[in-house]
């Protein structure tokens, strides 16, 4: 009787699941999407048919189309950005007061750890993969990525990675979040001693990190194969766009850096769980730091090179002229790629290593400043006497250059051993690298998100909100991180949940800046989502008037073809939904696209 009951329940559940699957498969499309208009890549030559791309959520779960996977990466990255941003907002509010007032010190340490890992591994790398997936095949004239299914697998490894990394925050008994900071220095992260870091939450975080590394490695192999083998007939090495160059270099860095992180993480997991002693005893802590930073410093360039590519790509479009010294930028990108593997121990100057080795790392760290500075001069020279149009993406590009100069110059000082020994482990370092990761990398991400918004949504964002987002981000970034640089000069050590009262004023300034940043990002999310749903449709394949200045590129040409070949569903044209009181002509021309206004 009991068996029959179970059988009936199983059959019922089976029928229910089949019904759910059938319903999901028949669900209405998320967006207007026609087989010819949206399914094909450049030239529409590969002949997608509707049967190959189901509608509804099944499409997103099964897709191997590079553009869909790009959108998945983008959604994932932005969700992670929101999570990481909320974490740091809580931290900054706690730091208004010198003592422990709002959250516990342990919870602060947990947020500190997860904020770093989330922003670097769950936002930074995926948001770059979003741009690369969507754009590289379009830019190089490929039908799709070289390995579309590996591309899908690489993405689908990321959601479980995020769940593992955040697992300690979920209400699971006996599980606490990792409090190791993102650098996971041993012996703390090995779980030894009287602390609480032997907890399984740390193991899950390490496994999640490992999974995200596997994902990034698979993606990088795919990009290298795609750019080497899938370029269109006319796309020679001399014609390859700067964004694809940076993605190629970044993929090379990932290929050599991430497997090493994976190995180190496995060694650490073995130390924690299986009694190995890789990082125990004399030299163990140094071994971890060497292994970690051999990955960790190239990781910085893994994160910054593609955003540099976005800026090098977008900035000339609104300067009305070609990128100055294009090949300088290409070769300097490659130089950064190589040299980034020779500077890792500048993070370890204060560890007491042999001074001869330290001197060598200083030399290469100073040398790597040159290619970065070359790019900065190229961007400035491109704008010099150009026909600059201050659209939202252009504002973010200029903000990138400005913040990158501050972030870069503060970094050159840190490359010098005597200066580093004084400023090591202070807020100066935090200010320096946040100028780069938030002020530069995130800004370039926003520039790309706004510039290609019509391409991937078919709609236009609200320009006033876009500019409000920029100015709040720019002001917030500079208030927050400049205050941190000053805190560092004053000797405020980093990573602490509490501090001496003498640092209170500057911490409060930094918190005000962070709240300004927070308001800016709320506006961004609102603008991004609402415009996607209700923004005016863009019916022009050249929304930024690039043909006029001879700067029209392949991805917009693809978009133009998509518009021309789109089949209206049921033969009726969808009415463009306008923003409140917005005149379509004006709003779709957008954002400084009006040359006359810009010339004024």
């Amino acid at each position: 009787m009991q068996v029959n009951g179970q059988l009936a329940l199983t059959v019922l559940m089976g029928i229910f699941l089949v019904a759910v699957a059938a319903w999901l498969a028949r669900i209405e499309n998320w967006r207007s999407y026609t087989p010819i208009g949206g399914g094909g890549a450049l030239g529409q030559q590969e002949g997608y048919v509707s049967e190959e791309k189901p509608s509804g959520i099944i499409r997103w779960l099964t897709t191997v189309d590079h553009k869909d996977i790009g959108l998945l990466y983008g959604t994932y990255g932005l969700i992670a950005f929101v999570v990481g941003g909320l974490m740091v907002t809580v931290m900054r509010i706690e730091l208004i007061d010198p003592g422990m007032s709002f959250i516990s010190n342990q919870f602060y340490n947990s947020l500190l750890t997860s904020h770093g890992i989330t922003m670097l591994f769950l936002f930074g790398t995926p948001i770059i993969a979003a741009f690369a997936n969507y754009l590289v095949p379009l830019l190089i004239g490929a039908d799709d990525m070289a390995f579309p299914r590996i591309n899908a697998i690489a993405f689908w490894l990321l959601p479980p990675a995020a769940l593992l990394i955040w697992a300690g925050f979920f209400p699971i008994p006996d599980l606490i979040p990792a409090q190791t900071a993102w650098t996971m220095y041993t012996p703390l992260s090995a779980g030894v001693g009287a602390g609480n870091q032997a907890n399984a939450g740390v193991d899950l975080m390490l496994l999640g990190l490992h999974l995200s590394g596997v994902s990034a490695t698979m993606g990088s192999i795919n990009f290298i194969a795609t750019i080497f083998t899938e370029r269109g007939d006319d796309v020679s090495w001399a014609n390859l766009d700067i964004f694809s160059w940076t993605i190629l270099t970044q993929s090379g860095l990932i290929l050599f850096a991430f497997p090493l992180l994976g190995s180190a993480l496995v060694m650490l997991l073995f130390d924690r769980n299986f009694g190995t002693t890789f990082f125990a005893g004399e030299g163990g802590a140094m071994l971890w730091q060497h292994l970690f930073w051999f990955f960790g410093h190239p990781e910085v360039y893994i994160l910054v090179l593609p955003p540099m590519g976005i800026v090098s790509y977008v900035l000339p479009r609104f300067s009305g002229r070609r990128l100055f010294g294009f090949k300088f930028v290409v070769y300097s990108t490659l130089a950064i790629g190589v040299l980034s593997f020779g500077v890792w121990a500048h993070h370890m100057f204060a560890t007491g290593m042999d001074p001869r080795l330290r001197a060598s790392f200083m030399a290469v760290s100073l040398a790597i400043a040159i290619p970065s500075a070359v790019k900065t001069f190229n961007w400035i020279t491109t704008m010099w006497n150009g026909r600059v149009r201050l659209t939202t993406p252009m504002l973010f590009c200029i903000g990138f250059v400005s913040n990158f100069i501050i972030g870069g110059v503060t970094g050159v000082f840190l490359a010098s051993i005597p200066v580093d020994l004084i400023l090591h482990d202070t807020y100066y370092v935090v200010g320096h690298f946040h100028y780069v990761v938030m002020g530069a990398i995130a800004f370039a991400g926003f520039a790309g998100l706004y510039y290609w918004y019509p391409l991937y949504t078919g709609r236009m964002y609200q320009k006033t909100l876009g500019k409000a987002h920029f100015w709040l981000s720019m002001v917030g970034t500079n208030i927050t991180f400049f205050a941190m640089i000053l805190l560092g000069y004053g000797g405020m050590p980093r990573r602490y949940a509490t501090y001496l009262p003498q640092f209170a004023s500057l911490h409060q300034v930094a918190t005000i800046g962070a709240l300004i940043l927070f308001v800016g990002q709320v506006i961004f999310v609102w603008n991004f989502v609402q415009s996607w749903l209700e923004g005016p449709t863009v019916d022009d394949g050249d929304p930024w008037d690039l043909r006029e200045s001879g700067l029209y590129t392949a991805e917009w040409d693809w978009y133009d073809q998509k518009l021309q070949t789109a089949i209206a569903d049921g033969g009726e044209e969808e009415d463009s939904v306008l923003t409140d009181g917005g005149d379509e002509e004006e709003s779709v021309r957008t954002d400084g696209g009006d040359v006359d206004a810009a010339d004024d």
């Binding site: 290409v330 001197a359 040398a367």
Partner: protein, 122 residues
């Protein structure tokens, strides 16, 4: 062939990577001449290895990248980057493979070599 690819413009483009090479070279010489922390077989070997390896890798990568880019410029149409697959895009420089142009290239190459030789003589 190498001279034809690494012409004056290409060499000028590659100077961007010569600067970091020079900086590394400067420190190598400095550490050899001054040796501020003394010489120890293991530590000094690692010290110079840490400079030599990036130096050599950067030089090799710069050479191959320059050869790939400049070689492509000399053997196919050159478009504005990102524009090659745009419908109806006009190349910035058209690849000319007529016998006259090849002859002209060879003449230029010979002249270049002659000029180099002359410079060497001085």
């Amino acid at each position: 062939m190498a001279n034809k690819i690494f012409d004056r413009d290409t060499l000028l483009d590659l100077t961007v990577n010569v600067v970091p090479l020079f900086i590394i070279g400067f420190f190598v010489v400095g550490f050899v001449v001054l040796a501020p922390f003394g010489i120890d077989p293991l530590a000094s070997a690692i010290q110079f290895g840490l400079l030599a390896v990036p130096f050599v890798l950067l030089a090799v990568l710069t050479y191959f990248a320059g050869r790939a880019v400049a070689g492509a410029e000399h053997s196919s149409d050159v478009y504005l980057p990102g524009q090659a697959s745009v419908r109806g895009a006009e190349p910035l420089e058209e690849f000319d493979d007529t016998p006259e142009s090849l002859e002209r290239d060879q003449t230029n190459a010979v002249e270049g070599e002659t000029a180099d030789d002359a410079a060497d003589d001085h």
